[in-house]
């Protein structure tokens, strides 16, 4: 399948259907995102290992694609994308950070091992150019054990886990969906700053809340966390709630706005809180 992807990339470049392709390149025994501009360079294009931050250039909140699109107005850029990469693109387009009209998605599916490593429920883009789609891992697996705990044990669990946090902002930096120019996690109005660990649970709370309608299941937040904090237990749980309440999945339909931003007529709440 790598060969198929490379072939397609070479075609797109040599036929000038795209001005450049954003994909992974092998360098120094690593795979790192790179801007391929000539068909010959594509020989070094690789698909694995899955790399974080396909669209970020941290610590700036800008998305690399929006920087590239500004530098190459009117030109199409190809993006070699797994399922999560494509979902990220769609969400970025919703927030007008990327113009999808000038993006050519070269999608490919993840294999079973990768799907399991990411515990991903949808390990493929919408129109992969080859390979075999594998069934995803149901999302409940990530948070079943957490929900099985009693409330007070859950709190103890998170107190222990989040007290390991060293405020590296890795979770925020790695997330393709974290692009606010003024990041709430940085604002001292809500949490005391300058100390470790950051105030529990305020520091991570806002990000969890934002991820409820943005998380595209790439798993990079956990991969960037030096302290192995299992962030996805919460983000996946909130995703499942969004699905149950509104039938909403971030990253699948560029035309569908987040239900949090719409009225109750446009996106009715399927279960009301007990008090209402």
């Amino acid at each position: 399948m790598e060969a198929q992807v490379r072939l397609r990339c070479k075609e797109l470049l040599s036929e000038k259907k795209v001005a450049a392709i954003w994909g992974l390149r092998e360098k120094d025994e690593c795979a790192v995102p790179f801007l391929f501009q000539n068909p010959e360079e594509i020989d070094a294009l690789t698909l694995s290992p899955k790399f974080p931050l396909s669209f970020t250039c941290r610590p700036s909140p800008e998305t690399i694609l929006s920087i590239l699109q500004k530098k190459m107005p009117g030109k199409r850029i190809g993006v070699v994308a797994r399922g999560c990469d494509e979902r990220a693109l769609i969400e970025l387009a919703k927030s007008e950070r990327v113009d999808l009209d000038f993006v050519e998605v070269i999608g490919f599916p993840c294999d079973q091992a990768q799907a399991e490593e990411c515990a991903c429920s949808r390990p493929f883009p919408q129109n992969p150019i080859g390979g075999n789609k594998v069934a995803g891992i149901p999302e409940e697996k990530a948070f079943q054990k957490l929900l099985a705990l009693e409330l007070k044990d859950r709190l103890k669990f998170w107190e222990a886990q989040l007290s390991k946090c060293i405020k590296c902002y890795g979770c925020r930096n790695a997330c393709p969906m974290c692009f606010c120019k003024e990041c709430r996690m940085e604002q001292s109005a809500y949490t005391e700053i300058g100390w470790l660990p950051p105030e529990f649970p305020l520091f991570q709370f806002v990000r969890f809340y934002h991820m409820s309608d943005h998380c595209i299941e790439c798993g990079e937040c956990e991969k960037a966390c030096p302290m192995d904090i299992p962030l996805r237990k919460i983000t996946k749980y909130l995703r499942s709630r969004m699905e149950e309440l509104f039938d909403y999945h971030p990253g699948l339909d560029v035309k569908r706005k987040s239900p949090i931003l719409t009225t109750v007529d446009e996106d009715p709440v399927k279960e009301l809180p007990h008090e209402l």
Binding site: L155, E199, P201, V206, L238, T262, V264, P273
Partner: protein, 138 residues
């Protein structure tokens, strides 16, 4: 439960409806518990989830949000946002280990002073059962 425990409630109340109802309940000397710290908001839709969690962290045992009924919002759709947000804040609190019944969203119009007093009373009873918010010791 400790019988002496008096839960502290922070109430974010919409200026156009719930706040008026609360006022009315006070003027009419309707029986209502004194545990409430009222914060007047121009719209329940201006209540950020961060205010909710901050309140619970800084000593509130419960957070009450009072807004206009759907369709009656002074700003047309502010309360739509409130409802949508609370639908996420509640499971987030639960996932973290905080009972989501500590956050209560009610639509209370300006004339519903009686409803207001009843709701707050119920809320206090519920919180007495739940006990002090565990975030306070955290």
């Amino acid at each position: 439960m400790n019988d002496n425990f008096e839960p502290r409630i922070v109430g974010f109340m919409c200026n156009w409806c719930t706040y008026v109802a609360a006022d009315m309940a006070g003027v009419a000397r309707l029986k209502q518990p004194p545990n409430m710290t009222a914060i007047r908001m121009m719209c329940s839709g201006a209540v950020s989830p961060l205010y909710v969690i901050s309140a619970l962290k800084k000593g509130a045992d419960g957070v009450f949000i009072g807004g206009c009924h759907i369709g009656d919002c002074h700003y047309q759709r502010g309360n739509h946002s409130t409802l949508k947000r609370i639908m996420i804040v509640k499971p987030l609190l639960e996932a973290l280990g905080i009972d989501s019944r500590r956050v209560r969203l009610e639509w209370i119009s300006a004339s519903e002073g009686v409803k207001y007093a009843k709701v707050i009373s119920e809320f206090v009873d519920q919180l007495k059962e739940l006990g002090p918010c565990p975030l306070r010791e955290a």
